[in-house]
């Protein structure tokens, strides 16, 4: 039994919570793995903030078109049924509540669903927000895809975010390498964890109070590399 999921395995786990026909926005970085793990026979429509619905996989060298990139500025393709539109329409989709799921990276998620993922407030990096605040405010569900703890071991699921917020009360579920945790009005509910990891051990790595769901399930370990 591995002690943690790989990032591809976390992405696979997120795919299981995305429904056929959902319109999904994937944040830059780790969340992009979700597209790679989506089975080819499922129709999930990927939204890219730069005016694309129906974002497809990385182009072959022949397909590559310098006018077609994803939000992470990487070359992309369009699937049949895809469409292009301008930035105001793109964010009307986001702000207007039309995106079913946004998968975002996170620095911190608070027990009330507050999300911090755009700046640590330090001056080391240029401040940059992009579309993160719009997605946090507008998507029907916000999935946070992240390591359970920071590099120094500090919990990233916390009572209250210490970093500047991206959005308030927006995260619906957190997917980490060791657990799937729903953020609900009644608190942080562990929906899945490793069968052999006691709740106490998970709690010890978490900064907010956890409750184990009555119908919790063991975290699956898919064979996805």
């Amino acid at each position: 039994m591995p002690e943690k999921l790989t990032r591809r395995q976390i992405a696979w786990r997120i795919v299981q919570d995305i429904e056929e026909g959902n319109y999904v926005n994937l944040g830059i970085g780790q969340p992009e793995l979700v597209a790679d793990l989506m089975p080819a026979n499922r129709e999930v429509i990927i939204h890219s903030e730069n005016g694309i619905l129906g974002l497809g996989p990385k182009p072959t060298p022949e397909e590559a078109d310098e006018d077609l990139i994803n939000a992470g500025k990487k070359m992309a393709t369009l699937v049949p049924g895809g469409a292009f539109f301008h930035h105001a329409d793109s964010f009307a989709m986001i702000r207007g509540g039309h995106i079913d799921v946004a998968v975002l990276g996170a620095f911190q998620v608070a027990e009330n669903g507050d999300l911090a993922n755009w700046t640590t407030g330090g001056g080391d990096l240029l401040p940059a927000v992009g579309g993160a605040m719009d997605l946090a405010a507008g998507a029907k569900k916000v999935f946070a895809m992240m390591d359970h703890n920071a590099k120094d071991g500090a919990p990233k699921i916390v009572k209250r975010c210490s970093y500047p917020l991206t959005g308030q009360r927006c995260v619906t579920t957190v997917y980490t390498e060791i657990a799937v945790i729903d953020i609900r009005p009644e608190g942080c509910i562990v929906r899945e964890k490793f069968a052999d990891m006691p709740l106490e051990a998970l709690q010890a790595r978490t900064g907010a109070q956890l409750t184990l769901a009555n119908d919790w399930r063991p975290l699956a370990i898919p064979d996805v590399g």
């Binding site: 056929e20 429509i45 369009l78 049924g81 009307a92």
Partner: protein
């Protein structure tokens, strides 16, 4: 390992077999956006299906109020409409509406056409409210908040959400991407954005990928149901 979600199906197909099925779940008391301008682009077959369906106590949002006797006029004539929100009720043949209106049996909210369009778009775009110079100093801004912005008086207007939108488009694919024809486009694209459930009648359903992605006017995300009506009725 968790199985696929219960709602999963093999592929996304928003096409509904019949008009009646498409409007079956519209409840009494619903607010409904209805596309069309001057009879062009009005989803008359969907309106007729709604008439057959029986829902009542409706609030309708449309540029006008219906000419003639069928579609919206039939709904109004049958007393099924509580309120109309529109810019131009003085249609070529407004007899059915006028009778109800003069009898005090239907409520009318008159909105300048551009404000109507922008309120609908605001609902679709998640804008909470906006300031516009239109109607300042006129009876249509009475009682509303006025604020000076950019040196100009502006009135605060609120989004116009709907439970359902009934729209007529030209072509659709099974995901619900839409194109329109000429001036029949009018309110369609913004109404598709603004309703919880958007129902579209189209002249033609084409294969996924057949619509030019540069020329899709309503992307599929704004559409819930598509009904194929090859030969639509006309209002007059």
């Amino acid at each position: 390992m968790r199985s696929a979600p219960a709602k999963s199906k093999i592929m996304v197909n928003k096409e509904i077999a019949s008009l009646d099925e498409a409007v079956a779940d519209i409840p009494n008391g619903a607010t409904i956006h209805v596309g069309g301008f001057g009879g062009v682009g009005i989803p008359i077959d969907l309106c007729e299906a709604l008439y057959r369906q029986g829902a009542t106590n409706l609030t309708l949002v449309n540029n006008g109020v219906a000419s003639g006797k069928i579609g919206l006029a039939a709904l109004i004539g049958a007393g099924r409409v509580r309120k109309i929100i529109c810019s131009f009720p003085r249609t070529p043949d407004p007899e059915v509406f006028e009778k109800k209106y003069r009898a005090g049996e239907i409520e009318l909210e008159l909105v300048p056409q551009g404000t109507l369009a922008e309120r609908i778009r605001a609902a679709g775009a998640g804008v909470g409210a906006f300031y516009t110079p239109t109607s300042v100093g006129t009876p249509l801004s009475e009682g509303k908040e006025i604020r000076i912005l950019g040196g100009r008086e502006m009135v605060l207007e609120h989004p116009l959400h709907a439970d359902f939108a009934l729209v007529k488009a030209d072509r659709a694919d099974r995901w619900g991407n839409l194109t329109y024809r000429k001036s029949a486009r009018n309110f369609g694209p913004i109404m598709c954005m603004a309703a919880k459930t958007t129902i579209v009648q189209v002249r033609e359903v084409v294969a996924l990928g057949a619509l030019d992605p540069e020329a899709i006017i309503t992307p599929s995300i704004f559409v819930d149901r598509v009904v194929h009506v090859a030969n639509p009725m006309r209002e007059v």
